[in-house]
């Protein structure tokens, strides 16, 4: 989700017979529900896939600050301003926890940042869509955070200890994010005709991009199969997408808003809603850098990094001077 289309390094799942003794023992630990900790032996593919996945997740949190940050200075009341700021701040915190989890695998935060800024690493497609009205703050909280939570809750059980612990903390903190989004939507949907129009418009624009957050169907993906065997991916993309649709439909009804999909209907036999797939060619274009806001998002991140260099260097130089003075005094 926040980590869409993570390439694992393996060529599908190895059979027992193909595994080395160490690999078999490692797989046994995972199958037994044990957590893998940083200093434990692990296959190189496991380590690399995790770095990509956690890194992508962390980058998504950081880039994800931007579309909502876009409205902090325009929030309509003092309370809304505080709530939105606290929420976007949480996203910075979640990025921080995740970078720290990735760092236990032998990569530094600065290296990961460089990979983001150079375009070598990706972040979730959803954050390349613009936030145009205040109702978008509602839609992002309701739909985007709703989709994110759906993915993150099972990841609390992931096999890698530091990742699992980061997800537990994130899920605990994130519980208010979706609710505050829905709360905004309720106010808008029951407000003036203009507010209601804004709310419907926000749903129209964010519905399909939200469905894309789960990534394309991975039913036949060898990467997904390996990640699921390693318990760094818990559900398939399609399972989560279906669950999201089923959960969201009654919420939209309660708001009196219409999901922009004429094919959407309850399928009694399946016990699920049938729905239209998003335009996957658009998804791949966005991932490749051709979404509505890719350039702006990357420019903002590069500017923050470049403009901040003198601050990071300055404080480090001061710390070194202070340490040297302390040694000299002893």
């Amino acid at each position: 989700m926040y980590a869409q289309m993570v390439q694992s390094t393996g060529k599908g799942v190895k059979t027992r017979a193909e595994m080395t003794e160490e690999e078999a023992r490692f797989q046994d630990r995972i199958d037994a529900g044990e957590k893998i900790e940083p200093r434990d032996w692990m296959p190189e593919g496991y380590r690399k896939t995790l770095i990509r996945q956690i890194g992508q997740h962390a980058h998504s949190e950081i880039v994800g600050q931007l579309p909502e940050g876009n409205w902090i200075t325009r929030a309509p009341t003092l309370e809304r301003k505080a709530i939105l700021l606290a929420k976007v701040q949480d996203e910075a915190g979640h990025g921080l926890y995740l970078y720290c989890a990735a760092e236990t695998l032998g990569v530094s935060r600065d290296e990961l940042t460089q990979d983001l800024l150079s375009g070598r690493m990706k972040y979730s497609s959803i954050f390349n869509y613009p936030t145009l009205t205040w109702a978008d703050m509602g839609a992002v909280g309701w739909l985007v955070d709703g989709a994110a939570i759906m993915n993150q809750v099972p990841l609390q059980r992931t096999s890698y200890g530091p990742y699992s612990r980061a997800m537990i903390r994130i899920c605990k903190e994130e519980s208010f994010h979706q609710r505050q989004g829905y709360d905004i939507m309720m106010k808008m949907a029951k407000g003036t005709p203009e507010q209601k129009r804004m709310a419907q418009d926000a749903l129209n624009r964010f519905w399909y991009p939200s469905l894309m957050m789960f990534g394309p169907s991975d039913a036949d993906s060898v990467h997904s199969a390996q990640s699921m065997a390693w318990k760094i991916k818990i559900n398939t993309n399609d399972e989560l997408r279906q669950k999201f649709v089923d959960q969201t439909v009654p919420q939209a009804e309660l708001l009196g808003l219409t999901i922009p999909d004429p094919e959407l209907k309850w399928n009694e036999a399946r016990g699920h809603h049938d729905f239209s797939q998003p335009d996957w060619s658009e998804f791949f274009a966005v991932i490749q850098g051709d979404g509505p806001c890719n350039s702006e998002r990357m420019e903002a991140r590069r500017k923050a990094w470049d403009d901040g260099a003198w601050v990071r260097e300055g404080l480090m130089a001061h710390a070194a001077k202070k340490a040297a003075r302390k040694v000299a005094a002893e």
């Binding site: 950081i62 600050q65 931007l66 940050g69 902090i72 200075t73 325009r74 929030a75 309509p76 009341t77 003092l78 309370e79 809304r80 301003k81 505080a82 700021l85 606290a86 976007v88 701040q89 910075a92 915190g93 990025g95 921080l96 970078y99 205040w134 905004i184 106010k187 407000g191 003036t192 203009e194 507010q195 903002a300 500017k303 923050a304 403009d307 901040g308 260099a309 003198w310 601050v311 990071r312 260097e313 300055g314 404080l315 480090m316 130089a317 001061h318 710390a319 001077k321």
Partner: protein
């Protein structure tokens, strides 16, 4: 008369935290390092919270049925009573953190004295805000020291920020009729009374930061009286008040 002066005084307290909180919140997602991004947001959140208390009390004292939000979102530039310092643009991170420190140094002193205010409501708000401001001044002060005493570049940038902001300091200590009425009623200290302790704290930090205090120039004023704000405030309000102005009467 005293009611009107009290209202003005509360607007000054609330507008300072409102405008500075707004400025600091502009950094969210753009700070030099994640830890700083989170810390700046904490500062902004504290300031917004204080704004709700000060402007809430101001609205109550005014007695015209307005709310804190009405005061924040529906007044025009000339009705704002914040110091010119806090409406200055963020500039680079150095200018932001120095502006923060100069304000914090005054703010803790002011709040400390307000905890003894003859008005119990003011004393209660000050007691809560003081705990937050004490942390702010420690953090901003240490950061000013670290950057002033860091690399050649960070030192030069901090000195430039100090030269830019120094003329805005004097406004804090210039008393007027509102301040005199507050002092007379033992509600707040005289503006001038804060000059010595605040200057002492600022000078101690600037000294550790190896920064030179600029030569005294003409002190800018006009913010706390509302007589002459800078051009920056209007642009800030244009953004902050947009939704309330564009959709009057809607609830959010």
């Amino acid at each position: 008369m005293e009611g009107a002066a009290l209202f003005q005084f509360l607007l000054r307290m609330g507008d300072n935290t409102l405008i500075l909180g707004h400025r600091v919140s502009e950094w969210c997602g753009h700070a030099p390092v994640l830890e700083e991004d989170i810390a700046l947001a904490n500062t902004a959140l504290d300031l917004i919270g204080q704004t709700q208390m000060w402007l809430g009390l101001a609205a109550e004292v005014e007695g015209q049925g307005r709310s804190a939000d009405d005061l924040a979102f529906l007044r025009d530039v000339w009705d704002f009573r914040n110091l010119l310092l806090v409406e200055q643009p963020n500039g680079d991170f150095g200018q932001t953190i120095l502006r923060q420190f100069l304000f914090d140094a005054w703010h803790v002193e002011m709040l400390r004295r307000l905890t003894d205010s003859s008005d119990a409501r003011i004393a209660a708000i000050a007691a809560k805000a003081l705990k937050e401001a004490r942390y702010h001044v420690e953090r901003s002060g240490d950061t000013v020291i670290g950057l002033g005493d860091g690399t050649d570049e960070s030192h030069a940038r901090m000195q430039a920020a100090l030269d830019r902001l120094w003329p805005y300091l004097g406004e804090m200590f210039h008393g007027d009729g509102v301040d005199e009425a507050m002092e007379k009623a033992a509600i707040a200290p005289a503006a001038e009374a804060l000059r010595a302790p605040v200057s002492e704290r600022i000078e101690a930090v600037l000294d550790k930061a190896t920064l030179s205090i600029p030569e005294t120039r003409h002190a800018r004023s006009g913010g706390k009286s509302g007589v002459r704000h800078s051009e920056h405030l209007g642009h800030l309000l244009t953004q902050m008040q947009w939704l309330q102005r564009a959709y009057p009467g809607a609830t959010w």
